[in-house]
């Protein structure tokens, strides 16, 4: 969506016409969901996060600076929300029943794939920090520019380029290990 189109949608909302926000949610929800899904590694958490992100965006709409693209502002809220969620998880196992049950590896694999599309990708993503995961998804998958990502993550573009290359290499290495070794290390992996 171009900026002018977004501006048109925002004006009535800022005048108090709340219903107009429905179009904003409709326009951006799929890409923001995709981002949360890969960062949080879980469909249910991503769906909950998506709701919170849009509610936060609505509450703070008056503070939105129009010199920044609206999608970058929304991603910034999503990024901060995911960082908070992951911090909250820090002392919890993401999949707590790993500790409580004695399932075989194939069962663990199957469980991961119920919440995320691939156990191997899940484990490889778990090897990355949230910042690296964000770079991998936004730059490598969504093909956002480093300039746009710098607005989201508050980092300079030169360092982002380097960090992205390192994150991609790290992901490839972790993924190839998973593909070779299966989910043998699943018990110790956490998306934190």
């Amino acid at each position: 969506m171009d900026c002018k189109e977004t501006e048109k949608l925002l004006e009535p909302i800022l005048r108090g016409e709340i219903d107009g926000f429905e179009a904003i949610v409709g326009k951006f929800q799929v890409e923001i969901f995709r981002y949360c899904y890969h960062i949080l590694g879980n469909r249910k958490d991503a769906e909950d996060a998506l709701q919170e992100i849009f509610v936060k965006a609505y509450r703070n709409l008056g503070k939105y600076n129009r010199s920044v693209p609206f999608s970058a502002w929304l991603y910034k809220i999503a990024y901060n929300h995911c960082v908070d969620q992951i911090r909250k998880r820090k002392w919890k196992q993401m999949i707590p029943f790993f500790q409580e049950t004695d399932w075989g590896e194939s069962h663990i694999d199957q469980h991961i794939e119920e919440v995320y599309f691939s156990a191997s990708v899940h484990q490889a993503m778990a090897a990355l920090s949230i910042e690296e995961r964000t770079l991998l998804i936004l730059r490598g998958v969504e093909e956002k520019t480093c300039e746009e990502i710098s607005l989201i993550m508050k980092k300079n573009t030169a360092s982002l380029r380097k960090k992205f290359e390192r994150a991609a290499a790290k992901f490839r290495k972790a993924y190839s290990l998973q593909e070779k070794g299966g989910a043998a290390n699943a018990k110790s992996a956490r998306f934190t």
Partner: protein, 307 residues
């Protein structure tokens, strides 16, 4: 030559797996939340302001000097602000038209018919060009302090009497409403109904939205409104012609409050209490001559939690 994006084609393809969920729709859930009273609090004043500004604009196009007042907590953070209407952003001067007035009248009639302690999602067919669904909440009402206290279960302490000989008369509690309704279902009901509105009952959550308590002393009365501020961002109230209000800051037991008088009649005291469990705004209104800057401090003490 391979371009930069092709270098990472393997990653891109991995993350374009058809097993990744492609469909998601949280629109209704988000809209239900932001249309609930709690989420609307942020813009509530702005919306109320539109009408007020509109009416004032017809008699005067000159706004008063921009003044504002703030209350801070013990950490020095701003927890409440009052500003002149001219400082409100994102608002537009407009006068309520006949259609809006008719819609609000109908809404008020429906609310009147509802039993205390009930809530509903209401769709009014007439004068509703944007097909808005309204959440109407009718608070629980009490005429005995012990019943009100019983319902609060110690969450908020209320005095039976106030300095100046004021005694409890009535009280109400409104909780947040679980706004989980289906708009399309209401539209369908409306199509099939001959009535001019349709509604579906809604459930309360266990989160208090506000408590209103009335006290009286002979002919004089006083109203105390306690609002739950949890989740409220930027607690700012905009007043039309703020400079015409006489506002003074008072401090009681290290708690800041604003005492204001408007036209020698309506007097208000407002302060915010931050407790680990709740963040509450207290607002006392009265026309009584018994409420003044000195008695306001005594009244505050009656509500401030003992430390």
């Amino acid at each position: 030559m391979q371009n930069r994006h092709d270098l990472h084609k393997d990653i891109r393809e991995l993350f374009r797996d058809p097993r990744i969920p492609q469909q998601i729709d949280v629109t209704q859930k988000v809209m239900n939340r932001i249309q609930s009273k709690k989420e609307r609090l942020i813009v509530k004043y702005k919306v109320a302001l539109l009408a007020a500004v509109g009416m004032f604009a017809t008699v005067s196009s000159v706004y008063a000097a921009a003044e504002y007042f703030q209350l801070k907590n013990r950490q020095g953070e701003v927890i409440y602000q009052e500003k002149d209407a001219s400082l409100a952003t994102g608002t537009e001067i407009q006068t309520p038209d006949e259609q809006m007035m008719a819609f609000l009248q109908k809404r008020s009639e429906i609310e009147e018919k509802m039993a205390p302690g009930t809530a509903a999602a209401v769709y009014i067919k007439e004068n509703n060009p944007n097909k808005k669904v309204q959440t109407i909440a009718k608070p629980f009402e009490f005429d005995k302090m012990e019943d009100l206290q019983g319902k609060l279960a110690g969450m908020v302490e209320l005095p039976d009497t106030l300095p100046g000989g004021f005694a409890f008369t009535t009280g109400s509690i409104e909780y947040d409403v679980n706004g989980d309704y289906n708009k399309e279902e209401l539209y369908k009901m409306a199509e099939e109904s001959e009535q001019d509105y349709v509604l579906v009952p809604l459930q309360w959550t266990d989160r208090i939205n506000n408590i209103i308590v009335s006290y009286s002393a002979g002919e004089d009365s006083m109203q105390v409104v306690i609002s739950n501020l949890e989740g409220v961002v930027d607690n700012t109230v905009y007043h039309v012609n703020q400079a015409e209000r006489n506002v003074e800051k008072i401090i009681v037991d290290q708690t800041e409050a604003l005492y204001s008088e408007e036209g020698n009649e309506l007097k208000t005291v407002v302060w915010v209490v931050e407790e680990p469990a709740m963040k509450l705004e207290y607002r006392i209104f009265s026309n009584s001559p018994l409420l003044n800057k000195e008695s306001a401090q005594q009244l505050m003490k009656a509500f401030l939690p003992s430390r």
